[in-house]
């Protein structure tokens, strides 16, 4: 036992210095949130590559598997590592965020009544933050687990097949909405909280809705594109085939 602990334990310390932990936790909650939000932007652009064609999506996938680093060999476990890191941040963020959640029903009831009475945008938005955050405990966890364990299934056929053949498109639709609302509100809240880059909530709110709208449209289009790929190539998926990029197909056909 440290000397300090002993002194505090006996109640003798005149004025124990206040813990620095709350400051760090507060900062970490913001930082982890920012990381996840920025990651989700990137993620959205990566998955949206399907809109440019299956080849583009394939290239992005392979890029993350180290294909271009290791001279044409892909290692899906590299993706697992990325996913693991994101999952760790996700869990950290969830743990930090849950500190702010209502801890019992009566608190929840109080807050809900308060929001209803106030009719105040920011107050109501926080309820959505709680709801979406709560739902993501489950949905995002499931998705992260799947990506971590079966990274090799990411690809035009694998991803498309999951949507269409496995019927997971409603899952991803809901997850998309959750992520975009939670992330959008979260980023807006961050800016308001730290007064950066700007303090004007009017401006920030407009920006937030613009960003959310952009990503939702992009997200819906992407989801539709995967569903179409899943529908068009359902047999390939069922056969466990992986997508071969056009140039490789041409090369193969040329070889024939």
């Amino acid at each position: 036992m440290s000397n300090e602990t002993l002194i505090i334990q006996t109640g003798l310390s005149e004025r124990p210095r206040k813990s620095r932990l709350p400051a760090r936790l507060d900062f970490l909650q913001s930082a982890s949130g920012l990381f996840l939000a920025l990651f989700m932007w990137g993620h959205m652009f990566f998955v949206a590559s399907i809109l440019l064609g299956k080849d583009s999506m394939w290239m992005i996938t392979k890029f993350f598997e180290g294909y271009y680093v290791f001279g044409g060999k892909a290692y899906p476990w590299l993706v697992s590592i990325v996913v693991a890191v994101v999952a760790a941040v996700f869990v950290l963020h969830a743990m930090l965020a849950v500190r702010k959640f209502p801890i019992n029903y009566s608190q929840f009831k109080l807050y809900r009544a308060h929001a209803k009475s106030m009719q105040h945008g920011d107050t109501t938005m926080w309820m959505w933050q709680v709801y979406t955050g709560f739902a993501m405990f489950f949905l995002a966890s499931a998705h992260l687990y799947q990506m971590m364990v079966w990274p090799q299934d990411i690809g035009p056929f694998g991803s498309g097949g999951r949507m269409w053949v496995d019927g997971l498109w409603p899952f991803y639709l809901v997850l998309l909405l959750l992520v975009e609302f939670h992330g959008g509100i979260g980023l807006y809240r961050l800016a308001v909280k730290w007064c950066w880059p700007n303090c004007s909530r009017e401006f920030l709110k407009k920006l937030k809705w613009a960003i959310t709208a952009f990503f939702l449209i992009l997200g819906f289009a992407t989801l539709a594109a995967y569903m179409k790929v899943g529908y068009d190539y359902q047999e390939n998926y069922k056969n466990g085939e992986h997508y071969t990029p056009t140039w490789a197909q041409q090369a193969r056909e040329g070889a024939k």
């Binding site: 308060h114 106030m118 007064c195």
Partner: protein, 254 residues
């Protein structure tokens, strides 16, 4: 003379609206009393504020109605209540800006005294004691014969800008965190910390301020929902002050 006509025409000869006040009634001192809504009808008058309306109701309809007014001029902060669901100063609220049905309820978070009267004073005193909302100097006695210490005029103005708080409790009642955490200092407390941080006469360091607000009942409990900022009757710059304090306190904690 058109001005005369305009003024006299609005001077009370036209027929007035009938207002209905729905007031949350409860007397905790009375064992038979249960929280309930009670309605009162009152004819609107030119320039009627909620202060005048409630006074009329008490004097002519229901002498048991409890509420708090002191200055009735928007400067003392006594009369904050939930007006149609949002905290605001009743004395400064004109009935003509509202519909014919007006709902009034006491501020949440604070201890209820009865009907619309809540004990903001006790809460505020507790906050002041906890945050030590006074200038801390090492000098014991000032020589009062000597000229005062100089201060930058602009800084004095900035301090006054934050000093304008009237401790009405609207910010606390509008705060999501305060609904759930009864020990939360609220925007009123954080604004005061920002005010004393600004004041060169206060010798406290950032570390000292951290001791007062560096936890989840202080600045780190704030979720930046800014109900406080939006209902503050003095329009204090609460958003920037809280952000300022948060940044300083995070720096201390790192």
């Amino acid at each position: 003379m058109s001005n005369v006509q305009k003024n006299t025409a609005s001077g009370g000869q036209t027929r007035q609206r009938m207002l209905t006040f729905h007031i949350l009634r409860y007397n905790p001192k009375d064992p038979d009393s249960k929280p309930h809504m009670q309605s009162y009808q009152l004819e609107e008058a030119e320039g009627m504020t909620l202060f005048l309306a409630l006074s009329e109701i008490r004097e002519h309809q229901d002498p048991t109605l409890q509420y708090d007014f002191v200055c009735r001029a928007g400067i003392c902060g006594s009369c904050s209540m939930l007006i149609n669901g949002r905290p605001g100063l009743a004395c400064r609220t004109l009935t003509k800006d509202m519909g014919a049905d007006i709902t009034l309820a006491p501020l949440p978070v604070f201890e209820l005294i009865g009907d619309l009267s809540v004990n903001t004073g006790k809460w505020m005193r507790g906050m002041s004691e906890r945050l030590e909302t006074w200038v801390h100097t090492k000098e014991e006695e000032v020589n009062l014969s000597k000229a005062e210490t100089r201060m930058d005029p602009e800084l004095a103005e900035k301090i006054y800008e934050l000093d304008r708080c009237v401790e009405c409790g609207s910010c606390v009642a509008a705060c999501g965190t305060a609904q759930m955490r009864k020990d939360f200092v609220g925007a009123v407390g954080m604004n005061k910390m920002a005010r004393f941080k600004l004041d060169p006469r206060d010798e406290r360091t950032d570390e000292d301020f951290y001791e007062l607000v560096g936890d989840d009942s202080g600045v780190f409990g704030c979720m930046s929902l800014l109900g406080c900022h939006d209902v503050c009757p003095k329009e204090l710059p609460l958003q920037t002050q809280i952000a300022f304090l948060r940044r300083k306190m995070v720096t201390i904690g790192s």
